[in-house]
């Protein structure tokens, strides 16, 4: 019961944020790309969260930033999960040489330091939503692939799969209609966690100044605030806290959904924690 | 006939959430220096009797009525302090084969030495070495097995190591709870041989618990059936 409430709170927050992202144009009081006030203005009736170093409305920036975060989070998670499912299921199902090669590649990816690689890639490819998502997606599939592989091996060993195979079902059929269906809750759960990590990673990238300078992102708002010494002027209270809270809100909401989902599928999930 | 060493009187045990007791008014006398086989089908409460003697009922949240007398002490009513002095020191247990008795990160040597050290904190290193080789000899295991972890040993080896562990304090009573079930016939015979030899040389009383009547007949002096 409790997990149901937590789950619905999470879903509600996420739906709201998606709506904000979709209708950003109509919701934001100003265009976040134009100078609409004096620079470094304090919060006021016109500018709820004040203005930034070049006179853009911070509240509008915040609303537009939802787009970037959600887009990169979802895209990078989709990319990561696609690779992870392909590698994990193929490796676990077919075994043998293919398994050994795929697992070697997975281990190499696991060993490579995450952020340095992402930074160097982002530095060489100016960070659009797509390039950011691809970089993050490609760098974050190995852990999930490993989990899916061991799950696939377990499913493959179960009796009912042997029975279906005995009746002449093809590999593709069994994977598509049985293995995949059994893996689905796990894939969904891991996917949510990946969206959360993607959003955190995107904000980190933008915070390091590696994002697309033209795009509005919660991380980059903090980056510009930080480089304008918001900490010393006291403007961090309306300039740095709100975007950070937004990031917390999304990732908290995602964790809530993941938590309630996990509680409902309890016995199966706890093994993978 | 020998003197009675362990006496179970009107023992009844209930598990939580059940009306009917698993064991209802069970009586048993164990005489000194005998091998008594307690036989019964699985589910008849043999392991519950073992748990009652060893004071393990708490682990299963079970409730017991009756008496178990050992050395004029009622094991069911005794304080935990006193029980600690009896358990394993006077009455030791070789648990079921399926139970993993050994800490996976300890070698057999570490497990044995920990027990010896617990009994005597001032024990010298040579004494430890002597005792552990003695134990190994007792159960017919190579000395090299001392350096093994549980996962490196076969079933028969593990079972004999379990006997060695039960023998650390030279107990008066040894309880073998399905100690050979699940083992290969040849290894079974070997382990049973070890037990018989121990009984002769160490002057011990053995409570042998099994579901296998034939095996019980072969090894025991006396057999008690439970339903």
């Amino acid at each position: 019961m409790r997990s149901k409430i937590i789950g619905s709170i999470g879903v509600t927050i996420l739906v709201l944020l998606v709506l904000i992202a979709v209708f950003a144009e109509s919701l934001a009081p100003y265009s976040p790309y134009e100078q609409v006030g004096t620079t470094f203005a304090r919060p006021s009736a016109e500018h709820w969260l004040g203005t930034n170093d070049i006179g853009q409305d911070i509240f509008s920036e915040l609303i537009y930033g939802t787009r970037n975060s959600l887009a990169v989070g979802l895209l990078s998670a989709t990319i990561a999960m696609t690779i992870a499912v392909l590698v994990g299921v193929m490796s676990g199902w077919f075994g043998g040489k293919l398994d050994r090669i795929l697992m070697k590649v997975t281990t190499v990816f696991l060993t490579i330091p995450f952020l340095p690689v992402v930074i160097i890639l982002a530095a060489f490819s100016k960070g659009s939503v797509w390039s950011m998502s691809i970089i993050l997606g490609v760098m974050s599939w190995p852990v999930v692939a490993r989990i899916l592989r061991s799950e696939t091996i377990k499913i493959k060993g179960s009796n009912y799969i042997h029975m279906i195979q005995g009746m002449g079902a093809s590999d593709f059929y069994v994977i598509r209609y049985h293995v995949f269906r059994e893996l689905l809750p796990l894939i969904f759960y891991r996917g949510i966690i990946r969206v959360k990590s993607g959003i955190l990673a995107e904000s980190s990238m933008s915070f390091l100044g590696l994002g697309n300078p033209a795009a509005k992102s919660w991380g980059s708002i903090i980056y510009y605030a930080q480089s304008s010494n918001a900490l010393l002027t006291g403007s961090w209270i309306w300039w740095i806290i709100p975007p950070g809270l937004c990031i917390c809100l999304v990732s908290m909401a995602l964790m809530m959904v993941a938590y309630s989902f996990e509680e409902r599928n309890d016995a199966r999930m706890e093994d993978k924690l | 006939m020998n003197q009675s060493i362990l006496e179970i009187k009107a023992l009844s045990v209930w598990y939580p959430n059940t009306e009917k007791p698993v064991i209802n008014g069970f009586n048993l006398n164990l005489y000194q220096n005998e091998i008594l086989c307690l036989r019964g089908p699985s589910g008849s409460g043999k392991s519950t009797i073992v748990a009652s003697i060893m004071g393990m009922l708490e682990n299963y949240d079970a409730r017991a009525v009756g008496n178990i007398f050992y050395d004029n002490v009622d094991l069911l009513g005794v304080s935990e302090e006193k029980m600690k002095m009896i358990r394993w020191h006077e009455i030791a247990l070789v648990p079921q084969f399926s139970m993993n008795l050994f800490n996976p990160v300890y070698t057999i040597r570490q497990t044995l030495r920990e027990m010896m050290w617990l009994k005597n904190k001032n024990i010298t290193k040579t004494k430890l070495q002597d005792q552990e080789s003695l134990l190994m000899e007792m159960v017919h295991l190579e000395k090299s097995v001392l350096g093994c972890y549980a996962h490196e040993m076969s079933g028969g080896m593990k079972q004999r190591a379990a006997i060695a562990l039960a023998m650390v304090h030279s107990p008066k009573i040894l309880i073998l709870d399905e100690a050979t079930t699940g083992l290969d016939i040849k290894i079974q015979a070997d382990v049973l041989g070890t037990i018989l030899r121990l009984k002769k040389t160490m002057d011990m009383t053995i409570l042998f618990i099994s579901h296998d009547a034939e095996l019980g007949n072969n090894i025991s002096d006396r057999m008690v059936e439970i339903k």
């Binding site: 340095p116 980190s204 900490l231 740095i240 950070g244 | 008795l101 050994f102 800490n103 996976p104 070698t107």
Partner: protein, 322 residues
């Protein structure tokens, strides 16, 4: 063991090769990538000079030869944005990063494991639930943001802790005073890192302790009269720590990542700040070598973690040979 060393060597080679090819395969002219955007002001001759000094006019195989040769030579050239030898820059930066990340990792593991074990023992009580929610909440906060808030509150406002660097500049502290000074500067960065990286250790320990306290060997140890203290430490914790170490192995790769972000906030003179400065200044040789060093450090850390793991888990001993 030989196989493990081989494995890490292969990864090292992959990283070295990737470090050479990534900048050359990505779009953009080499001269632009090398010296930034303002190439327009240079004469053709100057451009050729730069290309020559980096051997960029040679075929790629020859370039690779020079790259390897430089790598093993004592001179990694000068950073043009910092005007200092790259090797010196990296040496001091790597030290600070190692200090920051190892101290934080140590505390995350210790605190995470203790909380996890505590939570497991109090399963289904209020304090268990609070810990689960608390750690989950902490893990949803971006680490750099926590760092900024800590800095703003305890550094800038309350002035309890320094806001900048790894040690007091312009002071000539020696011995113990220096150690204290460095530790003082470490408090906030470490706190930020530890707070945001507790979750994996917490959940893994909690779950594995829950599983282990129901194992037969724990019950039997109690029956055998092994004292509670020994059971807790040498039976429960030792076994519970093994899966936690699997977690550590996965986390070492992300270890430097966290520290890079935190360093940026506190202007901590480590690899993270160096890398960010290099990226902002488009100082590509410096980026490349910083990347290389952080990768090598990660691989070494992984290797060490692997060694410890093998010490902790006897069932892995000699698992390679089988």
């Amino acid at each position: 063991m030989k196989k493990r060393i081989g494995h890490y060597l292969i990864i090292l080679v992959i990283v070295i090769v990737a470090n050479f090819f990534i900048p050359r395969l990505l779009p953009g002219s080499p001269i632009k990538t090398l010296i930034g955007e303002d190439t327009g002001q240079m004469t053709a001759e100057e451009k050729m000079g730069i290309l020559d000094s980096y051997h960029l006019n040679d075929p790629i195989t020859v370039q690779f030869g020079y790259y390897i040769k430089d790598l093993f030579s004592d001179d990694w050239g000068l950073s043009f944005s910092k005007r200092q030898p790259i090797k010196d820059l990296l040496k001091s930066a790597a030290g600070w990063t190692l200090l920051l990340s190892s101290v934080s990792m140590f505390f995350s593991i210790v605190i995470g494991c203790c909380l996890g074990a505590h939570s497991a023992r109090k399963r289904k009580t209020k304090s268990d639930l609070n810990l689960i929610l608390g750690t989950t909440f902490l893990s949803s906060i971006p680490p750099f943001w926590v760092a900024i808030l800590l800095l703003a509150v305890f550094g800038a406002q309350l002035r309890w802790f320094p806001t900048y660097g790894a040690y007091s500049m312009w002071s000539d502290k020696q011995g113990l005073a220096y150690v204290l000074d460095v530790s003082y500067h470490l408090v906030l960065p470490v706190l930020a890192l530890v707070l945001t990286s507790l979750l994996p250790y917490f959940t893994t320990t909690r779950y594995s302790v829950l599983k282990i306290i129901n194992e037969d060997y724990i019950k039997m140890a109690k029956i055998r009269g092994v004292p509670d203290h020994t059971i807790n430490v040498r039976y429960v914790m030792h076994n519970a720590i093994i899966p936690v170490f699997t977690m550590v192995m996965l986390d070492v790769g992300y270890l430097l990542s966290g520290s890079i972000l935190i360093e940026t906030v506190f202007s901590y003179p480590g690899l993270g700040v160096l890398m960010r400065d290099a990226v902002t200044a488009r100082d590509y040789p410096l980026i490349q070598y910083t990347f290389l060093i952080s990768s090598v450090l990660t691989i070494i850390a992984l290797f060490l973690a692997d060694l410890c793991y093998r010490k902790l888990d006897p069932s892995l001993e000699g698992a390679d040979e089988k």
